[in-house]
Symmetry: C2
């Protein structure tokens, strides 16, 4: 039995599982116009940010998610100059994106400014690049922002959202993907966090189908560990605006001008390997085969 004074627990209700971290206290709590943000001090994972009861990130292992949501996409696009991050208010993805010298502008559009302000206090290492002259932080609705973005104005769109329920639901729809497709320039690509391969194959298959319906032509899913997310196993799915996703720039990835904690060129290649059950699940569906 876990004493609720000593543990933070997230229940993955449909999955019938739960993950808990031992905490020394709740150090922040607020209700914003959009959601409830909490921060806990944990015994072994540093700070833990929780939104509407769902774990978002911990100091200790957010590197897995942030590196895998950014570096594979940026090393796949041949010249990622103009990047947009939808969501991502903790700024960890933005930081990783800005490590790439090719990036000329990186716009982060999160609906809730408070997520960023709270991250500045409790995850200062993630916000350290916020004053990079290439970075723009906008606090508005990412769906509307993409609708209004000039056509062909972006090279990479990163969808760094919460689960497809509540505020993020609209980020998993054909209508939204169609706007993304319009905003991407030739050669552009989209990458989206796509939940657990063990729990959410339906969501991954939905992303393939809906991005296809929106005009995206090729897909690849990246698999990686993520201790604090349901099942401890997570994924991100890339989709190309047109044609095949290019092979990633392995030479650049092998000697990146930054130090990573998880990502390497071998990890990039490895993350693309499809489990047997995943391959089979897509064989049985018609046309969105990976």
């Amino acid at each position: 039995m876990l004493d609720e004074n000593d543990w933070f627990t997230e229940i993955a209700d449909a999955a019938g599982s739960a993950f808990s971290l031992r905490v020394t206290g709740r150090v922040h709590h607020e209700q914003t116009p959009f959601q409830t943000i909490e921060v806990y001090a944990t015994e072994t994972f540093g700070h833990l940010m929780v939104i509407d009861g769902f774990t978002m990130l911990s100091s200790r292992e957010n590197f897995l998610y942030h590196e895998m949501l950014s570096h594979p996409a940026l090393f796949t696009h041949p010249h990622p100059k103009r990047v947009a991050i939808i969501g991502g208010g903790d700024c960890g993805t933005l930081r990783e994106v800005l490590r790439h010298a090719e990036v000329e502008s990186a716009v982060q559009i999160d609906i809730d400014e408070r997520v960023t302000r709270v991250a500045e206090i409790f995850f200062p290492e993630l916000t350290e690049s916020n004053h990079d002259p290439r970075a723009t932080l906008l606090f508005e609705d990412g769906i509307r922002w993409i609708q209004q973005a000039p056509a062909q104005s972006l090279d990479v769109i990163i969808i760094d959202s919460t689960d497809p329920v509540g505020p993020a639901e609209g980020l998993f729809t054909t209508a939204f993907y169609r706007d993304c497709h319009r905003a991407l320039a030739a050669g552009g690509l989209l990458v989206q966090q796509s939940e657990s391969p063990l729990y959410h194959m339906d969501i991954i298959q939905g992303i393939y189908a809906d991005t296809c319906a929106a005009g995206f032509e090729d897909h690849a899913t990246l698999f990686f560990p993520q201790a604090i997310y349901p099942s401890g196993w997570w994924s991100a799915t890339m989709a190309s605006r047109e044609g095949k996703l290019p092979a990633f720039r392995a030479a650049a990835a092998t000697a990146p001008p930054f130090q990573s904690q998880y990502y390497t060129a071998e990890i990039h290649r490895a993350a693309l390997a499809q489990p047997a059950f995943f391959k089979r699940a897509f064989e049985t569906s018609d046309r969105n085969a990976p």
Copy 2:
């Protein structure tokens, strides 16, 4: 708060985390001369076997562990004829080993016969190969068995044990590895479950150091997801009796004569990719660099 009538929880105490599964009831409980065995019926993971309070396997996702503990090692050895499994009483590893036609004999040595008898009832799919004429099930101390095994009588030794505390402690020692080394024939290799890359780098480094001290010459660690184990991320470490571990038999692995749920040749290659932090941890230690 998780009601203990509805949830089974394993606390990873030193790691400060816990994982829980929603259960509909405890369907088995016994104290053997060696340990306490429990089986729960879970809502979404099938049956769950628990030994001394630690999750061992679930019906739903044991395929990850069993496939990764067996197929990479068996496709790495050029002709794995004689295989010993130390521990592995649930018989899931034995089943995977026997899928390989090259295997002429597979001996499973688990100290506790009750684990196998309980698996026969609650995980019958894992014990379906127990009557294969190539299989021998022994219920005795694996450490003593290996001590008494004829020199050079085995091609592959699989150490499918619980954590290095309690009964399994002796399976993580130089003395035991020395006996394994003696029992292996030329070209032989050992593979051992080696805990979580996020939580137990000390254990993985210990396995490298202790197997080196016992005469093993080359190492490779395999990384894979495992939802019910602490951190959801697990590993197995291979060590070669002498010389470099050979490249795995990719052609055979690409068209295996059996259907897997996780393992493929690409997954094998991918599982060997080292996270940046792992690579660095071994760079700082002297001689056991992977």
